[in-house]
């Protein structure tokens, strides 16, 4: 049996630019679901010794190719709605991103760790956007 997995040795050496777009899941009961997923991550992961209360997001890191916004939205075609923000907006409101998983995946958390401030996060994320690839998936 093992304890939580420390992530510091597993992170990619990558700090995304402020103008990169962060794509966050949308949909019904977003607050509850984000909270549940953040709690689930905290059960398994630590970063610098503290549980990671964060959620998975994908970043649009380029104008074309696999990491463009269109490609990221295509990879999230099971989501009808999403929220979009820039990395800079999130940082300005006290959130940060750990380069977990495979590029362009990141874990979004409150800066420095601790409880994920979900209501404030949703305020920063603002309105929902329809994912055009959701309908394309249904028609394909």
């Amino acid at each position: 049996m093992s304890g939580r997995v420390e992530q510091s040795g597993r992170l990619r050496n990558e700090s995304p630019p402020d103008n990169a777009i962060v794509v966050v899941r949308g949909g019904p009961n977003t607050v509850d679901k984000i909270g549940r997923h953040a709690a689930k991550t905290a059960k398994l992961w630590t970063y610098e010794g503290a549980p990671v209360e964060g959620i998975s997001v994908f970043l649009a890191l380029g104008d074309s190719g696999d990491h463009s916004l269109d490609s990221v939205l295509a990879s999230m075609s099971t989501y009808r709605v999403v929220h979009l923000a820039t990395v800079g907006q999130l940082r300005a409101h006290g959130f940060d991103l750990l380069a977990t998983g495979r590029r362009p995946h990141f874990t979004l958390r409150s800066a420095g760790g601790g409880t994920l401030r979900i209501t404030e996060l949703l305020d920063v994320l603002g309105e929902r956007h329809l994912n055009p690839h959701f309908e394309l998936r249904r028609k394909s």
Binding site: R10, R25, G27, H37, K40, K43, L44, I55, S56, G101
Partner: protein, 89 residues
Amino acid sequence: MKIDLRADLMSQDHTGYTWSLLEDAPDPSIIVPGALILAGEEGDPDDPVAVCRVVELEEINSHMVVRFEILPGDIEDYAVLVKRHNVNV
């Protein structure tokens, strides 16, 4: 739609696979490597759901982590395939 494993379909760990916890499966007995399952969220028609293949299970911090890959297409596509080939299930 009733799902086999409640999961955030965006979640990903160092393996690159999507993951959830076995405790989020209504029937954990079907969550075995190679099994095709329906994973995602339920409660609203807009909730994300996908056909997935279980890759592996690993115990971490007293929780059984389920790693899976999201397969292309919707469950209706698989139903069409089964029907076309008269597969008895």
